[in-house]
């Protein structure tokens, strides 16, 4: 079953075509990697899936119905986007991890569980979030999304600028979530990583998306 289906989706930003006639299916309960060079439209695609913006043309469906018929706030609770910059909110790690659950009145939730699922120990809960390293921030941002137990995780380069060990922890965490039924869309520059973690790879180039078996992708390396 497809969680998302895109048919002929187009998007222009500041007069420049970023996505052009994209046809794509995101299979539920699987990891789909979007691989491609900078500026190819990968992040824009994620933002469309999270409804932070709307397509200019084409059809985008979520769970079989037009995405525009779904309330954007409810959609974002179900399909959470973790942006590339991992902005931390002022306060402790616990404040960050609990941000969305407090906002949505979710009480049966333990922030330590989300933190551990993202590969951080509970000792981090009291730490000042804005003083964390890049890798730690990435994991807190992931925990913040995991806290909502979403149907889908939309990850924008969750391991960029992260040390190999942290990167490995994030990969393991996300694959574990996939095994538990979460749909993951993973934007990456790293072709090897895409091959390692994904069930499906989509090659995004010049605003067009092509399903790939990975063999057509330069045999590894980084865009």
């Amino acid at each position: 079953m497809n969680l998302y289906s895109l048919r002929g989706v187009g998007k222009a930003l500041s007069g420049r075509t970023v996505l052009n006639n994209v046809d794509l299916d995101i299979v539920a309960g699987r990891i789909t990697s979007l691989v491609g060079p900078s500026g190819s439209g990968k992040s824009t695609l994620l933002r469309l899936l999270n409804r932070l913006m709307e397509p200019d043309s084409g059809q985008l469906t979520y769970r079989g119905t037009a995405i525009t018929s779904k309330d954007p706030v409810s959609l974002r609770k179900e399909a959470v986007l973790v942006p590339q910059d991992s902005t931390m909110f002022p306060g402790s790690v616990e404040d960050n991890v609990c941000y969305a659950t407090r906002m949505h009145g979710i009480t049966d939730f333990n922030p330590a569980d989300a933190l551990e699922a993202a590969g951080l120990s509970t000792g981090y809960l009291e730490r000042d979030a804005e003083r964390l390293s890049g890798g730690e921030r990435k994991r807190v941002a992931l925990a913040r999304a995991i806290a909502l137990s979403p149907y889908a995780l939309l990850l924008d380069e969750p391991t960029s600028g992260v040390d190999p060990r942290s990167s490995d922890i994030i990969e393991q965490s996300v694959m574990r979530m996939r095994d538990e039924g979460t749909t993951v869309v993973w934007v990456t520059h790293d072709i090897e990583q895409a091959k390692r973690v994904s069930d499906h790879i989509v090659h995004v180039k010049d605003g067009e998306a092509v399903m790939s078996d990975g063999r057509d992708l330069q045999g590894g390396g980084v865009y």
Partner: protein, 265 residues
């Protein structure tokens, strides 16, 4: 008895002309020192003087009409509407990129000013007479305009620098108002700090205009101080209402109905 100030416009003009020597001296010094404000100061003085003269002439007419019942009220309403339009346009000019900026500033400034002024009238703090209503409306609209501009300035800056933070919150299912709660609070605080600071230093660093004017006109200083406090309550009350209305209404310019940031931000 010589009251110490002009009794007729002609006497006032003579006094003004003699005091203008100080102004021309300042203009001369600034051109000599090449400060580059001489032209602006002269222009400001002429425009400001002309505006004050115009308001005074209108006020004189309204005060004269006051004796003929409530005929002055429609004229005062036109004047207050003019104040609302001009203050809203000036405030909106500070955010040229923002769509519907005038609508936001006009509604916010008018709401804050008219409500606070109405409270004063209903509480019988001031009589419904043109010599009270018009000057106080000027103060209310002027202060609300400043507070509205400061609120919009701060909001626009915070939205532009904090776009990542706002979108991260939205992506976690925050509504547009939840995503900018802290920005709203910060904008309101920033806009009101100068007014609150002025209130804290009342009487110590400066004696404000209304109180000074009343004392010079022979009113008991304690009564003048009480009236000044009434004015400050109007200014602060109107300012808070204006600022709150600005952040609420401006949100529609920053976000669309789908809780998405607008392209111009």
């Amino acid at each position: 008895m010589n009251p110490g100030f002009a009794q007729t416009p002609w006497e006032g003009l003579v006094i003004l002309a003699s005091v203008s020597i100080l102004f021309f001296l300042v203009v001369l010094v600034s051109s000599w020192k090449r400060v580059g404000i001489g032209k602006d100061m002269t222009k400001g003085f002429i425009i400001g003087g002309a505006q004050l003269a115009l308001v005074s002439i209108i006020l004189m007419a309204l005060i004269e009409w006051e004796g003929e019942g409530t005929i002055w009220l429609p004229a005062a309403a036109v004047m207050v509407t003019g104040m609302a339009i001009i203050s809203a346009a000036r405030s909106a000019k500070r955010s040229p990129d923002m769509p519907f900026a005038f609508r936001t500033t006009a509604a916010s400034i008018s709401l804050g000013s008219v409500l606070s002024l109405s409270v004063l009238l209903v509480a019988d703090a001031i009589p419904l007479r043109p010599e009270f209503v018009i000057p106080l409306a000027g103060m209310a609209f002027g202060n609300s305009m400043d507070i509205c501009s400061l609120t919009m300035d701060r909001m626009t800056r915070e939205f532009q620098t904090g776009r990542g933070m706002i979108e991260t919150r939205l992506s976690l299912g925050a509504t547009s108002s939840q995503a900018v709660e802290d920005i709203d609070r910060m904008a309101i605080r920033t806009a009101l700090i100068p007014t609150i600071d002025r209130m804290k230093t009342l009487g110590i660093i400066f004696i404000p205009g209304a109180m000074a004017g009343l004392i010079m006109a022979g009113v008991q200083p304690l009564v003048a101080a009480q009236f000044q406090l009434v004015i400050f309550l109007m200014i602060v009350g109107g300012g808070v209402i204006t600022s709150l209305a600005t952040v609420t209404l401006a949100r529609e310019s920053f976000f669309n109905e789908n809780h998405q940031l607008q392209d111009w931000v």
